[in-house]
């Protein structure tokens, strides 16, 4: 619970559908076993594990005007409006997102150690602190460095010639500064090797010796190629085979690989190896073919000696030389098996999206942001807080309007602040529950709450005035003009100054505490419970007698059922049938959870 006390969460009703239809019996069985009533009559339990998924702060909820219900992040469908890099804030077209794998292709990199964004610095010590945008400073080689943990690309032996197009340069440099050969260079290299192999094969066939069948492998695998290299080798091999077979009609090969020469089998293979964007394989009979063999063809063997080497390396480098699981999972996919800190690569920044949201049941658009990255405006935004009342709770005793100032300025320091984190058990405490109405119609509100909260510690909760009215959200000036008529029930200054717990005002049952233009406050009395003590008769150490409390068992959360009744003019709703000016009654109801504080146990 990141939110500080006091807070209010609203329960989205969308989870109810799943509990009734599917076997949500686990929740019910364990947490409210004695209640076998109808689903609707059940008390909302903020402690059930399911509740975590249905409780939201009001700001995060949307409202579907068509379905007239609250919509949470679980009951909307999202459509991506645009992609952008959170670091350079450039928009990325969707075609590029597909090909580049959701990552920024500019100079945006994150530190592989601590994830903070990295900067491009020149290696020239004099200008060490120059930040990338100073493009006018050319100067020597550049490197990526992390301003937070001081990791830099020099640690893996990578320098850049230019400060721009880091992605392109990084793709060509291996850890340690080795240059990755381009495709053409690789091709040439492959041809060279193949010729050498052929020659050797020829020699072997003429004068048989005891050399291993995988001749060339041992010689070339000092460094295991990475997955991308292997992939390109394999592709080249199979493509090459097709072309050879097409030219020679497959006659010069031994019988079992005669049938490999159809183009469909290469497509099938390509899709097997999962190249993004490859066309789906045609429905074709799989044909037998010669497989890759030898390092030039992208085949390499895992030998025992390399494993031993790895173990030896782990032993010498120790814990500090290896990567954590988190660091490994942050690595780009082709390097996800980076075991040592030497293998780690800077992480290209992941893109972010702007989404528009639709109601899951009626498909109406609830949120549509502006497509521009820089804009923070919305074309459509249907917020729940414009449709359902905001419920807030705070301690009655001293209202500290500004929590941050209260401890600091002299004037407010005298006023004791309420400590939400240390509620005293068995001491009746009064809280002020306020409902603010965003609608333009006055509301009739009925509140309900179980008299004892659920959980390990049961707190007694009493809403002093469960039925009251809340004024409409009319023009501010209306109230100002009607101020003389005494819309306020009580003098607000006495309660606001908070001279004492009930400074001259009695907490009375059945009466509202205070009322304003579009808000009403009522008192909630809470008697925090005590820690449960296990059955008498169980002897032993004191630790044995007291039940162990789990984390957050001391949190005092009150589920409150809010039922609203209001009248809207019929012509607003249905212009066709309803007679003009007539009012229709409407009802709405929802559960919310008030997080009041922590009880001292």
């Amino acid at each position: 619970m990141a939110q500080p006390f006091p807070y209010t969460y609203y329960a989205c009703s969308c989870t109810d559908d799943t509990t009734t239809s599917s076997k949500g019996a686990f929740t019910r069985a364990r947490f409210s076993a004695n209640e076998n009533d109808d689903e609707e009559d059940q008390t909302f339990d903020p402690r059930s594990p399911r509740a975590n998924y249905s409780l939201f702060p009001l700001e995060n909820l949307l409202y579907c005007a068509e379905c007239q219900t609250v919509r949470c992040s679980r009951c909307v469908t999202e459509e991506i409006a645009c992609w952008f890099c959170p670091s350079c804030l450039f928009e990325v077209p969707s075609s590029m997102v597909r090909s580049e794998g959701n990552r920024c292709t500019r100079n945006c990199y994150n530190c592989p150690i601590c994830t903070s964004p990295m900067t491009v610095n020149p290696l020239d010590t004099q200008d060490r602190l120059v930040v990338p945008d100073a493009a006018s400073v050319p100067g020597g080689p550049f490197y990526l460095s992390c301003p937070y943990c001081a990791w830099s690309s020099l640690d893996i032996g990578i320098k850049f010639e230019r400060a721009s197009n880091i992605t392109g340069q990084l793709a060509r440099i291996k850890n340690g500064g080795k240059v990755v050969p381009t495709l053409k260079e690789r091709e040439r290299e492959r041809d060279r090797k193949r010729e050498k192999d052929d020659k050797r094969h020829f020699e072997e066939s003429t004068q048989p010796s005891s050399s291993s069948p995988l001749g060339s492998i041992d010689e070339d695998t000092q460094e295991a190629p990475n997955s991308e290299e292997t992939f390109s080798d394999l592709t080249a091999f199979y493509k090459n085979q097709i072309s050879i077979s097409n030219n020679t009609n497959g006659s010069m090969f031994n019988p079992h690989d005669i049938n490999f020469g159809s183009p469909s089998s290469i497509t099938r293979l390509m899709s097997l190896y999962g190249r993004p964007g490859a066309k789906p394989a045609k429905k074709d009979k799989p044909q037998s073919m010669r497989e890759a063999y030898g390092s030039t063809e992208g085949f390499f063997e895992v030998s025992n000696s390399s494993e031993d080497e790895l173990i030896e390396r782990i032993r010498t480098l120790g814990w500090s030389g290896t990567t954590s699981i988190e660091q490994r999972s942050n690595q780009p996919p082709h390097n996800s098996s980076a075991r040592f800190l030497d293998d780690i690569r800077p992480i290209p920044t992941l893109l972010r999206t702007k989404q528009s949201k639709r109601c899951r049941s009626c498909r109406n658009i609830l949120v549509r942001p502006d497509n521009k990255v820089s804009s923070t405006r919305y074309k459509i935004k249907l917020l729940a807080l414009n449709y359902i009342p905001r419920v807030t709770i705070r301690a009655l005793a001293p209202p500290p309007p500004v929590p941050s100032t209260s401890t600091l300025s002299n004037a407010t320091a005298l006023r004791p602040t309420f400590d939400y984190d240390h509620l005293q058990p068995s001491k009746p405490t009064h809280f002020l529950l306020t409902l603010r109405n965003p609608l333009f119609d006055p509301l009739k509100v009925t509140l309900a709450t179980p008299s004892y909260t659920s959980g390990r510690i049961n707190h007694k909760v009493t809403i002093m005035c469960p039925q009251f009215d809340v004024g409409a959200n009319t023009d501010v000036w209306d109230e100002a003009l009607n101020a003389g008529t005494g819309s306020k029930l009580r003098n607000p200054t006495s309660s606001m100054s908070g001279s004492s717990d009930n400074g001259g005002m009695q907490v009375e049952a059945g009466k509202i505490w205070e009322k304003g233009r579009n808000w009403t406050s009522v008192i909630v009395e809470v008697i925090p419970g005590r820690k449960p003590i296990s059955l008498p008769g169980s002897f032993g150490s004191p630790a044995y007698q007291e039940e162990e409390l789990d984390e957050d068992d001391d949190v005092l959360e009150i589920p409150v059922f809010v039922r609203l009744e209001y009248e809207v003019e019929a012509d607003k709703e249905e212009k066709v049938g309803g007679s003009m000016g007539q009012k229709t009654k409407k009802e709405d109801a929802f559960w919310c959870v008030l997080g009041v504080g922590r009880v001292v146990v």
Partner: protein, 216 residues
């Protein structure tokens, strides 16, 4: 409109805050250096023990032909209805560039809340940003609109936080998005009337006018 707190203070009022003509409230206990280089947008609160380093400004550079910035430029500019809580340190960012060490202006937008004991060296903070207490914003970080930074966060240097982000951690990471209703008050439009709201009611990221009013 630059209003200099020391110049326009009303000495006869004995409160914690000195209120300027444009409604800025500056604590008497705040230590402010280089007031000439600080602009406050109006209705902005600077609480006690805040350190504003307006003296760390870019040096007036004179080009060979005599042109250049004639007077000291703005070092810190703060928008309207922004609250700088007690114990904060606002220091313009600096770096070594082309052999010279120079300071860069810091810009803070409207309705920004900076929690107590935060250290800010950001290059820019846009409007409707809520920064909780004990945060560190390292030099040249940029915070866009509608961002919430949770307490004890360290935003590393040069980080850009895009709008609608929820940020936390050391180093800071974007851990989520703020809801669409961030900073919205129900029935907000024109809610300036007398007694319109429960006294001092405000929401994070929303208009801070009520909060500013409640600080005395």
């Amino acid at each position: 409109m630059a209003s200099r707190p020391s110049a326009t203070s009303r000495r006869q009022v004995k409160g914690e805050y000195i209120e300027t003509d444009s409604g800025n409230k500056v604590s008497r206990k705040a230590s402010i250096a280089g007031t000439a280089n600080i602009t406050l947008g109006g209705k902005t609160v600077i609480q006690s023990d805040v350190i504003l380093r307006g003296d760390l400004h870019r040096l007036p550079s004179t080009k060979p032909d005599g042109t250049g910035i004639p007077h000291a430029p703005t070092a810190i500019s703060i928008g309207r209805c922004t609250v700088i809580s007690s114990g904060c340190v606002l220091r313009p960012p600096s770096r070594l560039s082309r052999g010279t060490y120079s300071f860069y202006p810091m810009k803070i937008g409207d309705n920004v809340f900076i929690g107590h004991h935060s250290i800010v060296q950001a290059a820019s903070i846009s409007s409707h940003v809520y920064i909780a207490e004990h945060c560190v914003l390292q030099p040249f970080c940029i915070v866009k609109e509608n961002v919430k930074i949770l307490s004890h966060t360290v935003v590393p240097a040069n980080m850009v936080i895009p709008s609608n982000s929820l940020v936390a951690g050391r180093p800071a990471r974007v851990i989520g998005e703020v809801g669409e209703g961030w900073g919205c008050t129900p029935g907000a439009p024109g809610e300036g009337g007398r007694g319109a709201t429960v006294a001092g009611e405000w929401v994070e990221g929303g208009e801070l006018r009520e909060l500013v009013r409640s600080i005395k």
